[in-house]
């Protein structure tokens, strides 16, 4: 087979993989939204489905490498064309990763926004003291079990959040904060990738970008759950220490 014919087939293969990825992601978006609604805003089934979808995308990426090594590289005359054709697969792999990340954010932040909205509605509902029947107003930005004192009879009532309210801390906070700081997260990931590519002075740059992202991310969490403010310094220090343990010196 000539180089031209090999390149033609390789291009068609890459286009097919790209098309399959786009179809997968479109169906993932639709299916995950459906699972969320079907399960009364429980994000667990949707999360399980997304893990399987990620796996499928990983297999598609692996197929690119396998095809390159088994069929394309051996079919090309060594030289410039090999590098050019390999670059096409690398570009598609990066593209798949980017599309996956964007879809994941869209699915999960979308679900988080929906759950958070419903949780706020639930907390704003009338709740009555089971001792005297008087209305007990609940704190709005607190999503765990707690004691609430009845303003009328002073009895202590125990509030136990349902699955939607409980999901705010367990699921929504991270997703919504990530969505709000997405650009900074991308920058941080990009600078960290540069370390692996051995770019000079890249650790300092990556550390700065990570600190910038984490600061914004942790503050975005505090906007939803103000109680987290007490742990801001500790959380930031812990995450930065993890980075430094990975890239010492």
């Amino acid at each position: 087979m000539s180089d031209l014919e090999t390149v033609k087939r390789w291009d068609a293969f890459l286009a097919k993989i790209r098309e399959r990825v786009l179809e997968t992601l479109a169906q993932a978006e639709e299916g995950c939204a459906m699972l969320l609604d079907l399960n009364s805003l429980d994000p667990q089934p949707m999360t399980i489905a997304w893990m399987a979808i990620e796996n499928q995308l990983h297999e598609l990426r692996a197929k690119i490498d396998a095809t390159w090594f088994e069929k394309v590289e051996p079919g090309l005359t060594p030289g410039e064309s090999v590098d050019r054709e390999l670059a096409k697969s690398r570009a598609l792999e990066h593209d798949i990763e980017r599309l996956k990340d964007e879809t994941e954010l869209k699915i999960f932040a979308g679900a988080a926004a929906k759950i958070y909205e419903q949780a706020r509605v639930n907390l704003a509902k009338d709740h009555s003291c089971t001792q005297c029947g008087a209305a007990v107003p609940l704190k709005q930005a607190f999503f765990r079990s707690r004691h609430e004192t009845c303003p009328f009879c002073s009895s202590v009532n125990t509030f136990v959040p349902g699955s939607t309210v409980a999901a705010v801390e367990g699921f929504c906070v991270d997703q919504l904060a990530k969505q709000k700081t997405w650009a900074l997260l991308q920058k941080s990931r990009q600078t960290e990738r540069a370390i692996r590519d051995d770019a000079p002075a890249s650790v300092t740059v990556a550390e700065k970008a990570l600190r910038e992202y984490l600061t914004a991310y942790l503050r975005a969490r505090i906007e939803i759950v103000p109680e987290y403010a007490a742990n801001f310094d500790k959380d930031l220090a812990g995450k930065m220490a993890f980075f430094r343990s990975q890239y010492p010196g």
Partner: protein
């Protein structure tokens, strides 16, 4: 000058490509170029609302009419037996090709959603609850600022021994 058979093939290819696309203005221009009047948006909406299978692109009936017109135009120009045979089967063959290509995409995620729905573990109660715990001995509730571990009025423990609470 291009042979009639080549002209026919090029025109049929163009018809099929445009019919599969969502380029309505492009399709309408093509329909006019073969001497026909395209359907109006209302006519298309009416046919689609009648429950036709969901295919992408233009309505199959539109392509059929266009292919019939192309066949009629090229019939007098058929200069070989193969072209005459080709014209005989042209409409049916191209319609089958169109319908096959216009099928909506099959699910590329077979079973994933059903499996997730079936196997996911659901935790915790669905609804929020608010309740004042009452003493099992005297029925009193727990007043604010009191020791919440035992009843202020009769001393009964609110929690069974061994519940893992501080003494």
């Amino acid at each position: 000058m291009t042979a009639p058979a080549d002209q026919l093939q090029a025109l049929v290819e163009q018809a099929n490509r445009l019919a599969l696309s969502s380029d309505e203005p492009g399709w309408d221009t093509f329909v006019r170029s073969v001497g026909l009047t395209p359907l109006s948006a209302e006519q298309r909406a009416f046919i689609r609302a009648s429950g036709v299978p969901k295919l992408k692109g233009m309505l199959p009936v539109e392509l059929r009419v266009v292919l019939e017109a192309i066949r009629a135009r090229f019939a007098p120009m058929a200069d070989s037996e193969s072209m005459k045979t080709d014209l005989l089967v042209l409409v049916d063959r191209e319609m089958l090709r169109f319908v096959a290509a216009a099928q909506p995409p099959k699910s590329v995620l077979p079973g994933i959603f059903a499996n997730a729905q079936r196997t996911a573990v659901r935790l915790g109660p669905q609804a929020d609850s608010l309740s004042a715990q009452k003493c099992t001995c005297c029925g009193a509730a727990r007043p604010a600022e009191s020791d919440l571990r035992s009843c202020t009025f009769c001393g009964q423990s609110f929690f069974p021994p061994g519940a893992g609470l501080p003494a």
